[in-house]
Subunit: 296 residues, 2 copies
Amino acid sequence: MAELGFIGLGIMGKPMAGHLLAAGHTVRVYDVVSESVKELASKGAEACSNSREVAQKSNIVFIMVPDTPDVEAVLFGKDGVTEGIKSGSIVVDMSSISPIATKEFAKKLAALGVKMLDAPVSGGQVGAEKATLSIMVGGQPEVFAQIKPYFEIMGKNIVYIGTNGDGQTCKVANQIVVGMTIEAISEALLFASKAGADPAKVREALLGGFAQSRILDLHGQRMIERKFGPGFRIRHQQKDLNNALEAAHKLGLSLPGTAIVQELFNAVAAQEGGSNLDHSALVLALEMLGNCKVSE
Amino acid sequence: MAELGFIGLGIMGKPMAGHLLAAGHTVRVYDVVSESVKELASKGAEACSNSREVAQKSNIVFIMVPDTPDVEAVLFGKDGVTEGIKSGSIVVDMSSISPIATKEFAKKLAALGVKMLDAPVSGGQVGAEKATLSIMVGGQPEVFAQIKPYFEIMGKNIVYIGTNGDGQTCKVANQIVVGMTIEAISEALLFASKAGADPAKVREALLGGFAQSRILDLHGQRMIERKFGPGFRIRHQQKDLNNALEAAHKLGLSLPGTAIVQELFNAVAAQEGGSNLDHSALVLALEMLGNCKVSE
């Protein structure tokens, strides 16, 4: 029988673990923030005092933590998952981290008889709360089949990509496209505005043609209305682009557009409170460079 | 009564003028290539020996030529439109050229009592032949209303943007988005492939989420299938991006992403036959830089 564990109860992990609980599963939970553990326990979760204890009491362990070093610590650090986990168990890492590190983690777990899926999500806090996350999965197909029912409790658009790491690779590819498309819309609308045209009319015209994208629709509107509250924070987008650029460096690949986008995010992050703005606020960097605004 | 003229009978202009003829209008035509004039004349057009003659015999003059200097020569050069045109006539420039130059041309024509619309199109040769072009229009609204019936003979998605030059500004914005989105898809799919994931599965997964765009759909597929025949040629995309970068320079605006995209197109154009490939072949520049391919 499946005994579930969930490590990492932040903005994303808390509602995700909550959905598993609400579906009737017993879930062993742990987070470095003890209030989060208590909150989940008050909803029926079994509180644990570290990742080792979660692993001891579960045979399917979900992880949702911020970055690569956090996953590494949860898995292989002191009081970590690998100190408690039984052979035959499954680790499902839903964090968005390095695809290269993920392949290494999967190998080390395999040596302990533990199978791993990488299953990063997109859809943000709203998607986590409404259980409408997109989930991109890497690992063995039969392990995916086994875990799919749990993914369906937490998300909607669940896609199996390929072997270990391919889920993370897909997430990084997603964030490359998202970042650069925001840059494209920013440059286009700022150009239109500076040249004296109405950016709202230009957005509308472009939506009807080959330049159409969901980001032109949603973030184009944000830029025109200057609504830069998150949303998806610039510091999270920057972490994902860092995974892209680091992996590109290791793989021997040049991503000049991604690099530019990361640098422009750096410029926005350099402003007071900038890194907590929505990623559509990339346009602010171009506004600084051009000493002008998309709209007043 | 409307007496139509059409100057510029290339890949685009020939079918566009043909649609006006087919709709029952008399059209006076001129092109520097005399075979094109003869071809249209055989379909019922009235052949003229220069732009001046077209202007003398028409009160609505359409222009569809390659670039800013060509429009300038057609309008203000020897045997040009302004040598023959009557006050009260309308010039409709459907070429894709500089928005800044367009504003100047409109002013010079206004001084002669001639009204102007800028009405660049997107949709390429296929759109011109099938009369499904998108048309982005700048100029006075009442002049737009007067010319709209003719636009409807040549296109489908006809959008009034604003004052003189705003149609060209919108077209430039469109091409900024198109170029940079191609770059985004190129980097993402090449990253996926180099990291060992199946780019076709990554494309599919991304189409279901926030990274969705028409270009991911159509040009993502082209990159995976390596179908780089035109389509929209790199040299035409480069002309449009040149209009973006030149105008940005004059306006005092920094477009770092557009600049990178133009440079990568330069790299593809440096290869034998590269400038005549479809603009989705931008990915070839990244493949050279990364010594790898999206797919074999």
